[in-house]
Symmetry: C2
Subunit: 507 residues, 2 copies
């Protein structure tokens, strides 16, 4: 085990301040909710502009704290601000309100029906636990904060201890922008420390929580959220093995590309992404093992997020090495550079049959955070099906098939069925890393990939922080603008079960 200088301890926000932050968030909630969609969208856009304008400074601080390179971090800031702008656009359309109107029907066969007008309202203050592996996109101004603010919810952000100065710099910009656009005090605040996070999670003002991190940490917080006197939804994205299947028909010409793609994907960010493909399942008679092994040897050593991350990785890797039936195809190494930073080179583990994988499935089919992956050889598609069926919930399952002749034979029906059953995203001839931020995206999956049915990436992520309310027989003047018959906000509506476009004039 490499001995490294440990990270500085995480300072704890004092208890009184945690309580104050939660209470101020609750006071801000009705005020922030009253911002029109337009005004909230503008605020998110101004925030995106401000972060973009500060990219150099933010990247400089983060590069120092995280071990990530400047290009990767610059891309992540761009992703973060693109994400904020996409939520802004979505909020502007009003589609997130899901306005649904059923007109009164005095002659309904089951008895007279009242008029019902439903929309989505913000749940209230949201506690966001920032992630360590994405210091921008899943941290202070990341997808959870963006989707909560977009939904109309104040945010209390628990910073990740891995990048305290990056968090402080980002939080400073968020607070400054929100004050500038006239958002109420308390609509955003940051706390630090594990105990502070738990205290906030128990605070009665907090109405929902979001988390990205480990299964162990996430489950502990999930349990706290569920056991409160008033339980709250805990939207956690915990862990995933993200298996990749290469089907038997993949021709020789496609294999080198698959090998290179797999290695690039699992070593991206030095293997510290939640969508890292952890297991490659290849047919016995293919030369994939050699191709992948060769590609891994080309990848340079790189830093990991923190000395603790390196420790955890080395422990987990030793466990995998010790498992029966594994061959170390590439032995990754940890070296320490002149500045005292550990550099970790990728490793690759071979498992020569499904029988051997089955033997040590408990150890091998669990996420390993860091630059290692398994290549497992299989005899038949039925064996792959067996492994997918035994797998815990995953964020993704990827399938590589012959590009030229993509027709599924009957034998792939069950494989597809299982892929869909075990994962939130099924990827074809591509890699799970690089989660596109779009409307259709789903970043989630059965437990432990996620603790709720919602996505944490893409515009649908705002749904986590909304709940429906219906108005029955309300006089027009008592209705919120989004529900008024004259549709002053020009939002799209579903009326009597039929979609009505946003620009339909009132009748």
């Amino acid at each position: 085990m490499t001995v490294l200088r440990p990270s500085a301890p995480e300072p704890e926000t004092p208890r009184e301040e945690v309580d104050l932050r939660c209470s101020l968030a609750a006071q801000a909630a009705p005020l922030w909710e009253k911002f029109t969609p337009e005004a909230r969208a503008d605020a998110l856009t101004v925030l995106a502009d401000a972060l973009d304008a500060n990219t150099d400074h933010l990247v400089h601080v983060a590069a120092d704290e995280t071990g990530y390179g400047k290009d990767r971090l610059t891309g992540e800031v761009r992703r973060t601000t693109g994400q904020l702008r996409m939520f802004a656009e979505r909020v502007r359309t009003g589609a997130y309100l899901d306005v649904t109107i059923d007109r009164a029907d005095p002659d309904h066969p089951l008895g007279p029906r009242p008029e019902l007008r439903r929309y989505q309202v913000p749940v209230g203050p949201v506690l966001v636990f920032a992630a360590g592996n994405f210091p921008f996109a899943f941290s202070v101004a990341g997808t959870d904060t963006a989707s909560a603010l977009a939904a109309g919810c104040p945010v209390v952000l628990k910073a990740h201890p891995g990048h305290p100065r990056t968090s402080a710099a980002t939080a400073g910009i968020v607070s400054e922008v929100l004050a500038r656009v006239g958002a109420p005090d308390g609509v955003f605040s940051m706390i630090t420390g594990r105990q502070a996070g738990v205290r906030a999670l128990r605070d009665p003002h907090i109405t929902a929580a979001a988390f990205t991190g480990s299964v162990r940490g996430g489950r502990a917080l999930f349990d706290i959220a569920a056991s409160r006197p008033t339980p709250i939804p805990f939207h956690g994205e915990l862990g995933s093995v993200n298996p990749v299947v290469v089907t038997p028909g993949v021709p020789a010409g496609q294999r080198e590309e698959i090998a290179a793609g797999f290695v690039a994907s699992y070593t991206l960010g030095n293997g510290q992404f939640c969508t890292k493909p952890g297991v490659l399942l290849v047919p016995q008679d293919m030369d994939m093992v050699e191709l992948v092994t060769r590609a891994v040897r080309q990848v340079a050593a790189a830093p990991m997020l923190s000395p603790e991350t390196v420790d955890g990785y080395e422990r987990r890797l030793a466990e995998i090495h010790a498992a029966a039936g594994t061959d170390v195809l590439v032995k990754g190494e940890v070296t320490v550079d002149d500045a005292g930073t550990a550099l970790v080179s990728p490793s690759l583990i071979g498992v020569s049959s499904i029988a051997e994988l089955r033997e040590a499935a408990d150890v091998l089919l669990e996420e390993c955070f860091g630059p290692t992956a398994l290549v497992v050889q299989y005899d038949s598609v039925h064996e792959v099906e067996e492994i997918l069926a035994a797998l815990e919930g995953a964020l993704t399952v990827s399938i590589h098939t012959p590009k030229a002749a993509p027709e599924p034979q009957d034998e792939y029906g069950r494989l597809l069925e299982l892929a869909q059953q075990r994962a939130g995203r099924v990827v074809f001839n591509a890699w799970p890393t690089g989660v596109a931020v779009t409307h259709a995206q789903h970043h989630g999956g059965p437990y432990p990939a996620a603790t709720s049915a919602h996505t944490s990436v893409g515009t649908a992520a705002a749904q986590r922080f909304l709940r429906p309310v219906v108005f029955q027989n309300a006089p027009e003047a008592f209705l919120p603008p989004a529900l008024q018959e004259s549709n002053p906000l020009h939002v799209p509506r579903t009326v009597d079960g039929e979609t009505e476009p946003a620009d339909t004039p009132p009748n």
Copy 2:
């Protein structure tokens, strides 16, 4: 306390059979999922027809077991079959699949974007805990079963002990119909007994649960669902006080109607509905207390669901009587008829000021299952706001305002804000009982009204049993029919963020 013959003990389905039912449900899941929306809709319609055809028999059995009158029960069967047909219609449109497509964008400013196609898939076997107070509409073939089957999920139904013969008769029809339409074995089964229910809730094959009942029972089950190795969503509808506010401006001509409506609503089904309005808040200077008192005296005694229900009601009522500051305006009585059935007449409790309500809020602002309600006099709208702010989550808040001049003055802004914050449905100049089954309906609310953000009534209830899956870059032949570009199922889709009607020809 009236001494009554207790109900027969609830027989327990043997453990091995519970395990078998859950396991068969899991085997049925992929088969039932593969039924086209059309075929599933047909099955629900055939089931509705079969229940309608057996109405007389079902009502006869239920009248004997529940103490409800035949007219009420006949109406409930109609509600149940109307509900099944409405889910069938909804499934037929494919709208519930929420198909969302983002086309590939190789030139996106944040980097090339893959094609993503998302839809909703069934979560898997659902455990439904039937309710006691609606032997049809929230029981064996009720809203939870209908919405789970509609979503494509098998159902293991835990029967309510209050109406075992009604449950068995209904389950017989459900099983017969499902077999007749070719649904797989295991797509529906019924178990009985408290321990059997808990065992099924812990079964790894069960992927979601639905419940309608008490806060105590529901919370115990919620805790079990959340503490499983793989936690599952527990959609519970637990308890609600359903406050009603009469605003100061209501003119004399409207008051008699309000008094009569309130009494009819809180004594409907002898006060055993989850939407029973439990608290009427009226201005001090109005004659509402007298009007309500007079109306209550007109209501005849009626049976309750079971001897245990009567016992529980009498205990709870004694607690309310004992609370400081309450006046017994009408003392309900329990008499026993010749057949040994307890008949309970409604009671009415007065609280003459908000200060007195505040004193005993813990006892008074909690649901009381049975024919009693509170009339509370207030001095100012601010006092009403204070009560709403202190209230636990509710299914409904109702507001009675002058019908002739419905303009809200500024002083009602905060009241509306609080109503929306504390409830899932805000009702104007009408009563919360009689929950319309429509698209826009929301029957739920903040905890303890519900344990999730979803509705349990209306077509949106099927959303509880669906989860999103996205396909990335999938060859057309690998896509499920609902996601294929040619749209063979003719489902409505959202493409690149814009709604595309169901009949748009493929491009």
